[in-house]
Symmetry: C3
Subunit: 307 residues, 3 copies
């Protein structure tokens, strides 16, 4: 065998990581687990979450991307707004020399995760209906298309047998906001609010490193200097600050409380950061934040491939 | 062995499907999983949902019935209003030539699922306390009675050893509403609202087939003509319609939004359907909907057995 | 081998019971499950609950203690307020002759469960970073410290290799309220409200046994005589009563309804019990309840050890 082949696992997978917007209030996610267990009994299913807000492809894509570095080799089944989307096709995307496959809708949900996993290597649209379940209605692709296709992959069916090949460059990219430099200030936004009310920004600690251990935080409700720390318990009680969070980004946080509630923040809200007062180079006056979002497409091409 | 016996699996089961109203906010469902894992370590547990509203036997019975066609052979542990019910007994019901057993309260919860699985073949009330856990209190039968009994079944104990035989015809039937024909209109109701706000009716596409691809939808807030389609994305943006859903019934839906919220619908609300205006045979005037519910018992007798 | 050693299991564990305040609305608990599955693929994970209210160490400690009698031998991973706490160390605590290990923060969360399991036998602080994950930020110890340490224990690493030994008597105790006798009345409080609205007290049936099958219930909204029964269905419809619940404590309950909602009760509310009117010994006048809380530390020393 060549080194390339040696790197490829034996046919099939034994782990499925599962993320969706199906919720937990009814049996939907459970039925998908049942189909998987029935068709691929050897598989271990790891539920990531099923509480992605309905139809919220961006939130789902961010949750999946945050999880990717910690996933076990195997198949990722991701379904958000899977039945909507004006007929966006279902796809399976192979990554990492065949050590992982993402299965889900081609609506941008998978793009950041696939990019983090090194980019799409092989990709098919799931049009071979002999691998799907017959169903009394067409509105539950996660049960009738994704789950049986995932089971087929787990039992050793090759990706190429599941549908028609598609160029990874033709997949829908994700559109994620990048922070923007505005006269020495960084204009970003709230990307995610966790259960504790910490508000993750699309700004990382390296972006604010020149300012030292403090920054000026501009929210719609006002402006304040805040510390930049590496743990919630390093914040003063009741006072907001910027914490380097578990994914390495900056989060606005309040120790033992919810920054989202205390500061009235929601996902998508504009946030600007600048050097703390009197600490900027040259004492340049701080401009008013202008929350013009800047977005950038995240494509699914293999890393290293030409754009 | 006779063909009949050949059909019977070896003693025991390796999959438990678990549905309850225990919720997820405390450790209750987890403790039941622990008891199962402790007493039958080889078993795989598939959680269907634990968010059936407290005491809501009808919602639980419908969720279980929707799941039944997709369940793996094995034991189904279903507990809704299990500790209440004025002392309704706990039962185990064998179906499908021994390939499945339902364990839960005899309060109607299991009836539609058992009927869909072909009807009850053997049934016992769970009175053999040697198969139960000793407990400091009697209010958690799911932990103390159902879970150890399910574990016993999974490890090969025969149904007959778990309690006293009972005639399936003596089990409490479910009482489900049937749609009613009222002068050419179908009078039904909302049976289930999923996480996305789609409102499933007790009316199927075959009931409205004579009217073509449109129908007149009568809600308490007004009357409108709506399309009948086979996918949410076939609806116009923002306009409600009838979609053949994943269980083959008609659901009132709004593309990428919640029909329940936009139309103010709740489970149990009356809904009437008639031919779309000007499209009915003979242009007969549409009568005002009268929401008189009609119910029918779902018994647990084997299919083919005389009523 | 000596009898003592014969009692010790072979190295490693195959079950992890997992309780946290991580919630289910994002991928956090799922990522922890992924890390466990990746590092210890043979392990079965039993989720107890992840819906402990954020930072609510007392609620988490009570839920864990209620579950302990039903847990399978193995490792318990418990994380509530794990990233806060002003730098409380992470610990691993061995119990029951090595048949169980608790891993979590030393903030009182584990204390009641460890006490119920017989007390701490060996204990280390988790300072050996070679057993942790490298992480882009320090705010997710459940993912980066607890999960890999739990996986190490499951694959046979000895507790002593995970960190520095610590005296169990130096661990932070839990502080739980005890009922107080006030002139023949018992002054207690609501410890837990389950999904059905039953309000568990810190008062057991043995405490009220002298009063027979009725008691006088003093709430902030008034005083009433109520029955003491052993099942919800023994209560009159709509009338509150005291039920011996599944953990052997008294719960205020209303049959098929929520006592918490109907009586306006919340966790921590004061509740007093006395003999029912006219039924007390000597007809002594009932005093007004005074809700002075009494607390007692629950230490983690082995049972039998001197305080």
């Amino acid at each position: 065998v060549t080194p390339d082949h040696a790197d490829r696992p034996p046919a099939g997978f034994d782990t499925v990581s599962f993320l969706s917007d199906l919720g937990s209030v009814d049996e939907s996610a459970g039925v998908v687990r049942s189909v998987l267990a029935d068709l691929a009994p050897h598989v271990r299913i790891i539920d990531l979450t099923h509480e992605i807000p309905p139809f919220d492809v961006r939130s789902g894509s961010l949750a999946l991307a945050r999880a990717v570095p910690y996933l076990t080799a195997g198949v990722v089944l991701a379904a958000v707004d899977a039945a909507g989307g004006g007929g966006r096709p279902a796809v399976a995307i192979e990554v990492a020399g065949g050590r992982g496959v993402f299965v889900g809708p081609d609506n941008g949900l998978l793009a950041p995760a696939v990019a983090l996993a090194g980019g799409a290597e092989r990709c098919v649209t799931l049009v071979r209906t002999e691998h799907h379940l017959e169903a009394p209605g067409a509105t539950f692709p996660c049960r009738d298309v994704y789950a049986p296709v995932v089971a087929a992959l787990c039992t050793g069916v090759d990706l190429a047998d599941l549908g028609d090949p598609v160029d990874p460059g033709d997949l829908l990219p994700a559109v994620l906001p990048l922070p923007r430099d505005d006269g020495g200030m960084l204009v970003g936004e709230v990307m995610w609010i966790d259960r504790f009310g910490n508000c993750q920004l699309n700004i990382g600690p390296e972006d604010v490193a020149p300012w030292g251990d403090r920054a000026r935080l501009h929210l719609t409700d006002g402006v304040r200097n805040v510390p930049i720390v590496d743990g919630y318990h390093r914040l003063g009680v009741g006072a907001p600050g910027l914490v380097v969070d578990a994914t390495g980004m900056l989060s606005i946080a309040v120790e033992r409380s919810s920054a989202a509630r205390e500061l009235g923040l929601a996902v998508g809200d504009p946030v600007s950061l600048g050097p703390a007062d009197g600490e900027g180079p040259g004492g340049a006056p701080v401009t008013t934040p202008v929350a013009t979002p800047v977005t950038t497409p995240v494509t699914l091409r293999p890393s290293g491939a030409a754009g």
